[in-house]
Structures are given as structure tokens and as C-alpha cells.
Symmetry: C2
Subunit: 368 residues, 2 copies
């Protein structure tokens, strides 16, 4: 038995948790930069709660609310420059995975005047600023991971950096902040969270500890599945989804993801498929391809989800993602070769070649 | 749903984990104090591994190897004074619960020139030194808790202090270090770990997250139960016990313990019953007393342990602890009133009065 266990984030979960525990923020300094998207922070109510907390604590703040979906290096460089110039003491990320991942890059760039592409070197002269994370979606789990996934327009793909120093110091998880999400975003992000649990559970880096979180996350997704399918998503379900997403983050913090993510990124970059939805399209085929190598675990996933077979699982995912997509032969070739460069390839349960990725994509998508 | 989740310790688990990951120690400073007992560090091999690692990293060290069983305030004050005078940068605790708990007190006293009794105030001018924890028993879980339990001779009892700052920064869990333990210590400490899981699972502060660890720990204890009963304890079982003990620590980090610990402390102080054994004597009666309030969870504990009833559980514990003890009426009165002062009383699943504690003790022990 060998494992490393590390979740550096202190998590507060529950209705009103930010206000109840705002004293946790007091020690981080006198000036904060809130890093958020154009609307998620405002719509969710999280931005108001955070600015109120900062004001009550007499902490100055500036708001950077221009984080893009799938934030680019240019985007985080812009925010990082302002944080550096404004000499902020800590970063508060509010939003879905995009603002949260961006806040980690900003925390590095705020104290390291480097080219943004150097983020991927994962070694910085100065320790990143402390990060507070407030998710407004239940998917990414970024609030408890040491990863930041950014879009590189230079290589037309997403790429991640990460080390223990960019674990958020504190995360406030309040399901009220997810109540304003439209149905499609709720579903896409929930699938992303499931995907983290499934990919972590099945990949070669899984440990006895990461499996505990994965099993719990998959089981909780199973409890929510009917509600997701029928759009009956009340506060109680939102809490479960937020909890499950956090667990998924704890899983991939230890295991990383798989080619589901590796093949999903180009679908997002080139075809605009939301990240979680892309994973949902690929997950069943990933499990089918690897079935012989991870039979017991796959059967357990189906049991936990109360789903009879991988085919049935595929059908359920198809219903949830509700998207038809056709790809050209050239796109298939490009996406497969992009997926083959993903760092998870070596962790796949069985050996996987580019030609296997082509097969997976062809099993999922219509080819024209 | 409301919870806080916090495990600040980075855990490395597995054979040779200290040597493989010794670079983790490098950042903590130039001089260390190793805090250990008279023999556990040496016998286990952990002390040799640690001094070798420190030498290879060119880190100076001093060794304080006079930590007592159930360390007293006077004992940790002595070590703390030396650490302060020697200006060490970090503390390495090696041993069972006694040296590990002591190392946390020493980490505080090394940078705070306070009366040792002020440890229980839980507020210190200077942040404790970083702590590295290397357990040589599989029981306490202290390597992943923010608690330090010390003996107060002035009030003739054990008492704990704790806050997030005394979580060990890094823990190295190598089951080889537990191989030299005699059978009785192996059993007593395993029962302590089970007790943490059971007490955390059943007490009012349990959360959805702490329950995940508790269920896993109880289940793993169940896998080891026959081996414990028959003294067939190979390396594989030792790994499971060490893993389970760590999980138990993660549970009580969130929940605290119960009156099992509260009533167990005077048994240790006055009658010399080893800590885990004291818990083992009391656990079945604790569960019986609270059964109506925690029926589902108690039934689940029995199911996870593959034990048919609470009576059977009591018999198994009795066989494991293998100790007859008679108490006088005066002792019963004293121990019950001591237990009633334990901070967990308010967290007991149902209201509990001193008279209930008397009943529990009388159900467990012969009275003369």
C-alpha cells in the first residue's frame, strides 16, 4: 500500500457559511483582488456576500470581473498585472471553474513577474498569494484542487499547471450560489464532477484514499440522477451536487484525470462544447475501451449509479448531454492526436494508442 | 448540510516513504529537535531513518528521548525549554501517541515562553514550529490530528489542547515501524483507533465527511479482527491497521471523541490501564447506553465489523482487552464525576448524567 494524501484547503460547507466564518479571511491581509467572471459572481449572490464580508472586516478590495469562459493566458496575465500593480495581499476567486482556475494563475502572477506561459514550468521564485475560493457551479471541484486549467491560443488547446502552493487556503461552499444556474449548466457541471470521480477511480494513479472520495461522489451522483434527468433540482439536490463536485476535486487532486479530459479539451476548444458536456459524451466509450483492465471498478460504478450496463450508462449520458455533433475525418485525426499528448495517457488503465483514440471518437460522433 | 473539513497534514504512506520523500523535510529549517520516547524510536527503526534523512539533508538535530507514557506537563515543559534554548526550527515527533502529542506541545513551547498549563488556553503569541510526525504505533492517529493530550498531575487527569496550527505539516506512515510492537500494544492501539472511528461516527458532531472516514476505518478494522484475535499479524495487516488508525485520526479531527475517552482517562491515570484498552472496555456499554438515539449507525457499525449484536461486540472487545478490573464504590464515583467533566458530554448522542456514567462503569467492572 502506497499513497500520498494532501488536501490543503480548509472547507466550509453549508448555507451562509461565508458570513458565519468570515473571520477566516481576516488573517490574509489588508487588500484583496476578487477574480470573477462577467456575471456568475453577481447573479449567484456570492460577490455581494464577499464584498460585504470584506467591508465588515475592513479589508480593501478591487474587483476583476473580466475572466473569460475557459480563460486564456492573455486573460490571466491581464488580471495578474493589475494584482501586481495594486499590491494585493490575497485573491478571492468567485465563479465556476474558469474564475477559480484563473484566480490560481493570478495568485502566482501577482507576485511573480513572469511570462504567463512560464506558469506551466510550475516553479516560482515567490510563493503564490493565498487564495479563497467560492464556487458558483457544482462541477469543477477547483475549490479543493491544486490545478489551474488555462487555454493556450498558441497551441490551440487547454493545458494545466499546478502544485501544492495553489490549493485554495479556504473554500466556502454554499449551494445557494448555484441556484441561479440554468438547467444545462447544472447538468454539464454535474457531469464534469462525475467524470472527475470516474476518471480518478479508474486511472492508474488511484489510491485507497482517493477511492474513498470517488465512491462517495459516484454514489451521491447516483442519488441525484433521476432529478437531473427530470429537471427536478431543488436546494437539497443542489447541496448534494456541490458536495459531490467537491469530492470529485479531492479525487483528481490525487489522481489527475484521464483521456476523457484529454479528448474533451479539443471538443471545447474547436467546437465550443462545454467542458463537462464533452466529458459526458466520452465517458461511456472510455469505460468500454478500458473495461477488461478495470472490470471490478467499472461494475462498481454501475452498481453505485444503479445503472444496469455500460450501454445503459451511455444512453443516460447521451440524454443528459443532449447534443448531436458530427466531426470530419480531419477533425477526428486532429482531436485524437491532441488527446494523445494529454499527460494522463500513461495513466490509462490499459495501453492506448492514437488509433484507439480515433476509434473512441468514431464510436461517439458521426463522421462526415 | 453543514460541515467543516480540514486535514492540514500532508501524508505519505508506504514502505520506505520517509526516505523516498525526505525532500519534503528540506524546507523546514536548519535545525530540528527529534521528540521521542525512551525506546520506541530506536526499536522501530524510525529514529535511525530520520537521523539518516536529516544528515543527508545537512540538517542539524538534537534528540529529546525522554517523553513519558502519557506525557505530563512537566515532561513537555522540559523538552520545550531545551527546544527554545537550542533555537530549533522544527520538531520531528517519533513514536506512539505520547511522543506525537508531546511534540505538538513542544512545538508551541519552543517559541512561546509560557507556563505549560497555558497550553490549554489554545492561543499563542507565536505560531508553533512545524511538526513532522512519524507514528510507530497504529492507534492514536495523532499524526493527522490537531490535538495534544497531556497528563495534568495537578488535577489528576488527562486533558487536551488543540488548534489548526498544531496539525503536523507532514506525516510519514510506514508500517515497518510498527512491526516490533508486542501483541498487547498492537491490540490496545488498534482498539484505540477503532474507538476514534466509532466515537466520531456516533457523536453529535459527526458530519457527512467525517462519516466517510469512519465507515472506512470501521470496515478495515473488521477485515483485521480475526487476525487481531488470533495474533496472526503480518505486514499486510499492519499496513491496514496503520491506515485505519490514520482514518480514525481524521475522524476525530472533525468530531472529537466521546465519554468513552472521558471515562477512559481516569482508568489510565489511576489504574494504569493502557489508553486503547480502557476504551475497549467501555465501548460496548457506550453503544448500548446510546442505542436508541443512534440505532442506524450502531447497526451499521455491527454490519461493517461483521458482528451479530452489541453483546457479541462486547464479548469480542473483552477477549481483545483480556483484563479483569475491580473498582471500589469510591473509584466508581470519582471516575464518573471525572468523566462528566469531559468536553464531549454535550456531544453525546443522548443526554447523559453522572448517574448514567456510574451505571456504565458498573456494567463494565466488578465492584468491591
Amino acid at each position: 500500500m502506497q499513497f500520498k494524501f494532501r488536501i490543503a484547503t480548509k472547507v466550509f460547507f453549508g448555507e451562509g457559511c461565508l458570513n458565519k466564518n468570515k473571520s477566516e479571511i481576516a488573517g490574509f491581509g489588508k487588500k484583496s483582488m476578487i477574480v470573477t467572471g462577467r456575471s456568475s459572481g453577481k447573479k449567484s449572490g456570492a460577490l455581494d456576500d464577499m464584498t460585504k464580508a470584506l467591508e465588515e472586516l475592513s479589508i480593501d478590495y478591487i474587483i476583476y470581473d473580466k475572466i473569460e469562459n475557459n480563460p486564456s493566458l492573455e486573460n490571466v496575465a491581464d488580471a495578474g498585472k493589475i494584482a501586481r500593480e495594486e499590491k494585493v495581499d490575497f485573491i478571492a476567486g468567485i465563479g465556476g471553474g474558469s474564475p477559480l482556475d484563473a484566480s490560481k494563475a493570478v495568485a502566482v502572477l501577482a507576485v511573480n513577474d513572469i511570462q504567463p506561459v512560464e506558469l506551466f514550468n510550475n516553479a516560482f521564485d515567490n510563493r503564490p498569494l493565498p487564495i479563497i475560493a467560492i464556487p458558483t457551479t457544482a462541477g469543477t471541484g477547483s475549490e479543493v484542487t491544486p490545478y489551474s486549467i488555462l487555454t493556450r491560443n498558441d497551441i490551440k488547446n487547454k493545458m494545466s499547471f499546478g502544485n501544492d502552493d495553489i490549493f485554495p487556503a479556504v473554500a466556502f461552499l454554499d449551494a445557494r450560489y448555484t441556484e441561479s444556474l440554468p438547467y444545462s449548466v447544472t447538468v454539464d457541471t454535474a457531469i464534469d464532477a462525475l467524470s472527475h470521480a470516474v476518471e480518478g477511480y479508474t486511472n492508474k494513479r488511484s489510491t485507497i484514499m482517493s477511492d474513498i472520495f470517488a465512491v462517495e461522489a459516484i454514489s451521491v451522483f447516483g442519488e441525484c440522477l433521476d432529478n437531473l434527468l427530470t429537471n427536478k433540482i431543488d436546494y437539497r439536490i443542489r447541496e448534494k451536487l456541490l458536495y459531490m463536485a467537491m469530492l470529485g476535486g479531492m479525487v483528481i487532486s490525487h489522481t489527475g484525470t484521464t483521456i476523457v479530459h484529454g479528448l474533451g479539451y479539443p471538443l471545447t476548444y474547436y467546437k465550443g462544447i462545454p467542458h463537462g458536456r464533452a466529458n459526458g459524451m466520452l465517458m461511456a466509450e472510455y469505460l468500454k475501451f478500458n473495461y477488461e483492465a478495470i472490470k471490478d471498478k467499472t461494475d462498481n460504478i454501475l452498481r453505485l449509479l444503479r445503472v444496469g450496463s455500460l450501454d445503459e450508462f451511455g444512453k443516460i449520458m447521451k440524454k443528459l448531454v443532449n447534443t448531436e455533433l458530427s466531426l470530419s475525418e480531419d477533425e477526428i485525426t486532429l482531436f485524437a492526436s491532441t488527446g494523445a499528448k494529454h499527460r494522463s495517457v500513461a495513466q490509462n488503465p490499459r495501453d492506448i494508442a492514437v488509433s484507439d483514440m480515433v476509434s473512441i471518437l468514431k464510436n461517439v460522433f458521426k463522421v462526415w
